[in-house]
């Protein structure tokens, strides 16, 4: 059981059942569970989509696409079966929200997926959970078994005449599969590599059928929207950014953890009040606002509202809500290197700029941090990252390039401090000894 934190500013919607044992189906039913899906069955597809549209719910996976609109793109008539897919392949460094949902409220995801299926008239829903979340798979497996045992899924659910099957599927440990088309490939049993788009999943998706694919948190919000009404949900957040979301505060904070805050909550307040300020009384250096793939914000740039549009205006992205706080004792070059090591390891290898780009950024940053940097390397790093940006097959290349560009742009002086064979100024011991082993 993960340790739960709380703060008075929190608005508990998704997390309303956290810590209440809702993984148990009886307890979940006591807490108004599976009422929304029954309401949805009565409302019918059109009304459900309208309700979700009214809620201004935007995808919680990172891109922030309006969920209601996504659902409305699915063709009404289709020769091939339609599918609903829950993306629970939460792998973004700094993000740990879906984990809590699967642990504390798995039925909310199931119910959300069922409502989505009803909305697009699909009869099969898959819940794909990150392979490393082994213990969550077991929880999900039991939850789905319970749902079937109660007759909530399968043939004729809730006596409505509607057939709906719900399946779970475990990943095999690839960050790349968090990308929706790669996830579909993986679910089909193939190599987890992204697909060419268009066609988009809403038209040609899983096994060629129209597919709705949503983040686990998005789907977990849906039952609440149906219960409380779209407008009421929208009112919690800022215009165009409805509701609340789970922010994962991590890094050098006094009180890190997952907090459910309304959209548009101030970042500075989030760090200093909700997160309890920087640990050990140090000073803030930088913040990564939305998981490791979003560009960094400096200490001067954090007085912003945390919604999709405001963060974008500040030159970064709200992403998956993983707020990583970096204090002034951290070497940004090393942070960039650590980030790049991750992306190099997770690049699927499909397209050249991402495969080679992450590898060479990793090589250069490794040498650079170890004191072997040349003045031209700084520009080379930026050049390489800029040429990956927007040119790779899928967003993974962007995810690796964007933060790197941000680090070089905003902390160039720290890069320069590593030049001329100088050891990393933040390392207590000689920098050379910190050189990670390069694998070829």
């Amino acid at each position: 059981m993960a340790y739960l934190v709380s703060h008075p500013d929190e608005v508990k919607v998704i997390s309303s059942r956290f810590g209440k044992g809702a993984a148990d189906i009886d307890r979940y039913l006591e807490l108004d569970g599976y009422k929304a899906v029954q309401m949805a069955l009565q409302m019918g597809s059109e009304a459900v989509i309208n309700e979700v549209k009214a809620s201004n719910l935007r995808g919680r996976g990172g891109a922030g696409f309006p969920t209601g609109m996504k659902w409305s793109f699915v063709p009404k008539e289709s020769a091939k079966p339609k599918y609903v897919l829950c993306n629970g392949d939460e792998s973004e460094p700094g993000t740990c929200k879906d984990r809590l949902i699967f642990e504390h409220d798995p039925h909310a995801v199931i119910e959300g997926a069922m409502i989505a299926a009803i909305a697009v008239n699909a009869h099969k829903a898959y819940i794909y959970i990150r392979g490393e979340y082994r213990y969550l798979l077991e929880i999900m497996q039991k939850s789905i078994a319970d749902v079937y045992a109660r007759g909530f899924a399968g043939k004729n659910i809730f006596g409505s005449g509607y057939d709906l099957d719900v399946y779970w599927h475990g990943g095999a440990g690839a960050y790349e599969v968090g990308e929706e088309s790669a996830l579909m490939e993986s679910l089909e049993g193939k190599r987890g590599v992204p697909r060419i788009r268009p066609p988009f999943p809403a038209v040609v998706g899983l096994w060629g059928g129209p597919t709705v694919i949503n983040n686990a948190e998005t789907l977990a919000s849906v039952p609440h929207i149906i219960m409380m009404g779209g407008q009421k949900y929208a009112d919690i957040g800022t215009p165009k950014n409805g509701g609340t979301r789970l922010f994962c505060l991590s890094g050098h904070l006094e009180k890190p953890g997952v907090y459910e805050l309304p959209m548009g909550y101030n970042l500075k307040k989030m760090i200093y009040e909700v997160g309890g300020g920087i640990s050990n009384g140090r000073k803030l250096k930088a913040v990564v606002p939305g998981g490791s793939s979003t560009p960094v914000l400096t200490a001067d740039e954090i007085d912003i509202a945390m919604d999709f549009d405001s963060v974008a205006k500040a030159g970064s992205m709200l992403g998956s809500g993983g707020v990583v706080v970096i204090d002034d004792a951290t070497c940004i070059v090393k942070f960039a290197l650590r980030t790049m090591q991750f992306y190099r390891h997770e690049s699927c290898g499909w397209c050249i700029p991402c495969r080679e780009g992450t590898d060479w950024l990793n090589k250069t940053l490794t040498r650079f941090h170890a004191g072997g940097g040349l003045a031209k390397d700084i520009d080379n790093i930026r050049y390489l990252a800029e040429n990956m940006l927007g040119r790779t097959f899928c967003p993974l290349g962007d995810a690796a390039a964007m933060p790197t560009i941000g680090f070089v742009k905003k902390f160039r002086e720290e890069f320069e401090a590593h030049l001329e064979g100088k050891p990393c100024p933040f390392e207590k011991h000689g920098a050379i000894s910190q050189l990670p082993v390069m694998s070829h």
């Binding site: 690839a174 790349e176 190599r191 060419i196 190099r344 390891h345 997770e346 690049s347 699927c348 290898g349 499909w350 397209c351 050249i352 700029p353 495969r355 080679e356 780009g357 992450t358 590898d359 060479w360 090589k363 250069t364 040498r367 040349l374 031209k376 080379n380 050049y383 390489l384 040429n387 927007g390 040119r391 790779t392 097959f393 390069m438 070829h440």
Partner: protein
């Protein structure tokens, strides 16, 4: 057929153009001469979008888009040369080159490498990166496939061509990210059809050919386009030759220029099995048997001996005492000349060849039903294909490729009737397995005899399957019907009769490179060229200015019988091995005077009195007719000193026998000669002047050894062969129809048809002497099929 797709208007670099809706942008650009570079895009294979070289700017799209995955849309405005695009292209090359070793001087692809070309074109000469490149050791995957990982840029062309094109699925990708590596299906080695498509399709030098490896450089060779010498499909192959001690050595064969019917396709035989030409055991000088032992002789001695003996036999025992056996692997001109030699010079109709399909019956069936034959190109475009018997994957690899890709790219229907579960069944719309040898009964069933169905159902096909198939076939218009040597004689007639009303086209499968040509050229004791009976000999006598012997000759088996009975005094075997093919007793050849023209000491050659070393297809010019009837021109590529083409040998023997060579070969016609001095064309260069002259028949055929003079005669005499010579000369294929042949009394001898039963890794005598073919392990383990993906 569906309506032609709607045209949409697009603008590329300010040029306005139209393209059918759904065309990929990269193809639309190519149409108007704008090149968009790409590694991973390959026409005919699934889209990849992996190399990011083809990024272009499209108006209203914020990011650069890949031209290889974007279909054109109405009003699209594209810029392929904007500053952003040019910069991106250069950066992509820099990124590719970051880890690509710069070992061009030792790389086999150096000089014909797409990455090299692009680096020169788009400029990424300087490397920004100073870190150590990743390295992996080179691997050998099979005797013919080597893989050098660091050079690989992971365009996945090899994986796709192996899976989608060949349906072999022997290559895949292991690991991910920087560790991604192309891997063979058996851990450290390949078990596949060894076609080598992966090598040719590789844009860089990552996959290299075991037989060509490190031998020479592309610019050191002359590249000569000619026709493959193995099976009857008529693939064009580009032979790379370079000078050596003994003439011109053949270094490699491929078809990267995508010329011919086969595009870039070649099978293991076409790509690697040329090495028999340089085999140590090849006979390279005339041999005369003295006291039971072969003794080397000069050409003059040998030809004189042969001519004298032939003349003696004709004078003493009459022309009926000489037999001539022709070849499935000599050119049309040589076959034509040989039958003319037998009929006019020797004065006998005792001429035959190893028959691998019942072409006379096929010709009869086609003309009776006014049906048409299909070309190899038709197989790729037909809306439906029916295959009865044969295993094209093994025996007709190009045919299999055409069928597979027709099914994959055009969604055509494909019906198979076979006694074995052949590999092509994976592509089949319907596959019906019938008992061995029941193909004829199946045709009977097709023709309406429902009772025949009862004898077909043993191997798993139900009555229902069969009826379903028959109904489906009756509903197919423009069907292409392909059948193997399982069907002969009257069965062919019945099949043609069944399908002809639906506008079907037909292919009869023969085994060797020029089996069809040998039949078309009249290597029969009872048929003249073009399947004409002696009743129609007048045309020929007029052209030849001599009488055709009236007596029907002996077929191959009868000749051996006559030899046993002592009636046959001389036998002239050209490029054939009847002793082995027909399992005949070689001892009957002890009595007659036997002359064998061949490359190797075959079972028949051992029994010879004189062996004349012959050149093979890559060492001479002429034409081949593929089993479909596609006529193509051979060009001389290789050369071995002291061997002669069969054409030259026959002419020389005739001349020594005192025959007027001018009557045999219509040479010396044409205009005043420009012998090439004024053209300045060097070998290997396209000689437009010569092409122009040849195409108009103006090229002087000044030598009696020039087969093209005979081609003129063939074109005049044989119905269906009067095709455009300009197309032939410029390396294209011309389909010859059998329709004009009107003769109901064509004799057919089904019992003489002996299929060669070659597989992918055997090719008659030539295959026996090919080191590469014998070295691939699949040769010993045929019949194993690699599972589909």
């Amino acid at each position: 057929m569906a309506d032609a797709p709607k045209l949409v208007n697009i603008t590329v670099n300010g040029k306005k153009t139209t393209a059918p809706a759904g065309t990929l942008l990269i193809e639309a650009c190519k149409q108007i001469g704008i090149e968009v570079p790409s590694f991973c895009y390959y026409p005919g294979l699934s889209l990849q979008g992996a190399c990011r070289m083809c990024l272009v700017e499209i108006e209203k799209m914020p990011k650069l888009q890949t031209a290889c995955t974007t279909p054109v849309a109405e009003g699209m405005v594209v810029n392929t040369e904007s500053e952003k695009v040019v910069q991106s292209r250069k950066a992509m090359l820099e990124i590719v080159l970051a880890n690509h070793p710069l070992d061009c001087p030792v790389c086999d692809a150096g000089g014909e490498c797409e990455l090299q070309d692009m680096t020169y074109t788009y400029g990424a000469a300087e490397s920004k990166f100073i870190d150590i490149k990743s390295h992996r050791d080179e691997q050998q995957w099979s005797p013919v496939v080597f893989f050098d990982r660091p050079r690989c840029i992971l365009c996945y062309r090899c994986v796709r061509v192996c899976g989608e094109g060949m349906d072999v699925w022997a290559l895949g990708v292991q690991n991910r990210g920087q560790g991604s590596v192309i891997a063979p299906n058996k851990q450290d080695h390949l078990e596949c059809e060894e076609c080598g498509m992966c090598i040719d399709i590789c844009p860089v030098g990552a996959l290299t050919s075991g037989s060509y490896r490190y031998k020479t450089r592309p610019w050191e060779m002359n590249h000569v386009g000619t026709v493959c010498t193995h099976c009857g499909d008529g693939c064009l192959t580009t032979v790379g030759v370079r000078r050596s001690d003994t003439g011109m050595e053949i270094v490699r064969c491929d078809n990267r220029d995508k010329s011919g019917i086969n595009g870039d396709f070649l099978c293991v035989k076409g790509r690697y099995a040329f090495d028999f030409a340089a085999n140590q055991e090849r006979i390279t000088q005339p041999l005369i048997k003295r006291d039971g032992k072969f003794v080397p002789a000069t050409w003059t001695q040998a030809i004189e001996l042969v001519a004298d003996k032939f003349k003696q036999v004709v004078q003493k025992d009459g022309p009926q005492a000489i037999g001539v056996i022709g070849s499935n692997r000599t050119t049309n001109e040589e076959n034509y000349l040989l039958q003319k030699f037998a009929r006019l010079v020797l004065g006998t109709n005792n001429i035959d060849h190893h028959r691998t399909a019942d072409f006379p019956a096929f010709a009869k069936a086609i003309s009776e039903n006014k049906a048409r034959t299909a070309s190899m190109r038709d197989v790729f475009e037909a809306p439906a294909v029916l295959l009865i018997g044969n295993d094209p994957t093994e025996q007709h690899p190009l045919l299999a490729w055409q069928i597979r890709n027709n099914v994959r790219l055009h969604r055509s229907k494909f019906y198979i009737v076979n006694s074995q579960a052949i590999k092509l069944r994976r592509q089949a719309t319907q596959f019906v397995q019938i008992p061995t040898g029941a193909e004829a009964r199946f045709v009977d069933f097709l023709s309406g005899n429902d009772a025949a169905a009862g004898t077909l159902t043993q191997a798993g096909a139900s009555n229902e399957n069969l009826s379903q198939l028959r109904d489906a076939l009756k509903g197919e218009q423009n069907l292409v019907v392909i059948f193997g040597s399982e069907l002969r004689g009257a069965d062919i007639s019945a099949l043609v009769k069944f399908a002809a009303p639906q506008n079907a086209k037909f292919i009869c499968l023969g085994d060797y490179a020029n089996s069809r040509g040998a039949a078309d050229m009249g290597l029969f004791p009872d048929l003249l060229p073009g399947y004409a009976t002696f009743a129609g000999a007048a045309r020929y006598q007029q052209e030849w200015g001599a009488d055709v012997p009236a007596l029907v000759g002996m077929d191959l088996k009868q000749m051996f019988g006559a030899a046993r009975d002592g009636k046959l005094k001389a036998l002239y075997v050209v490029g054939s091995n009847p002793v082995s093919r027909y399992a005949l007793d070689p001892f009957v050849l002890q009595a007659p005077f036997v002359v064998v023209q061949d490359m190797f000491m075959t079972e028949t050659a051992i029994a010879a009195d004189v062996i004349l070393p012959a050149a093979f297809a890559y060492e001479k010019s002429g034409t081949f007719t593929s089993t479909c009837g596609d006529l193509q021109m051979l060009r001389k590529a290789g050369d071995v000193v002291s061997v002669k083409s069969d054409f030259e040998i026959v002419v020389r023997i005739a001349e020594k026998m005192g025959y007027d060579v001018r009557k045999l070969v219509p040479f010396g016609k044409g205009l005043r000669a420009d012998m090439g001095q004024s053209r300045g064309a060097q070998s290997g260069e396209a000689d437009r002047h010569s092409v122009w002259l040849q195409a108009r028949g103006l090229e002087p055929k000044v030598s009696p050894f020039d087969p093209l003079a005979t081609l003129d005669e063939i074109q005049r005499l044989i119905p269906g062969y009067d095709v455009s010579q300009i197309n032939l000369v410029s390396g294209n294929d011309e389909h010859t129809q059998l329709v004009q042949i009107q003769n109901a009394s064509i004799p057919s001898h089904p019992e003489l048809v002996v299929p060669s039963n070659d597989t992918l890794f055997t090719s008659g005598t030539l295959g026996r002497y090919s080191t590469v073919l014998n070295s691939v392990m699949e040769r010993r383990a045929t019949g194993k099929e690699v599972a589909a993906d």
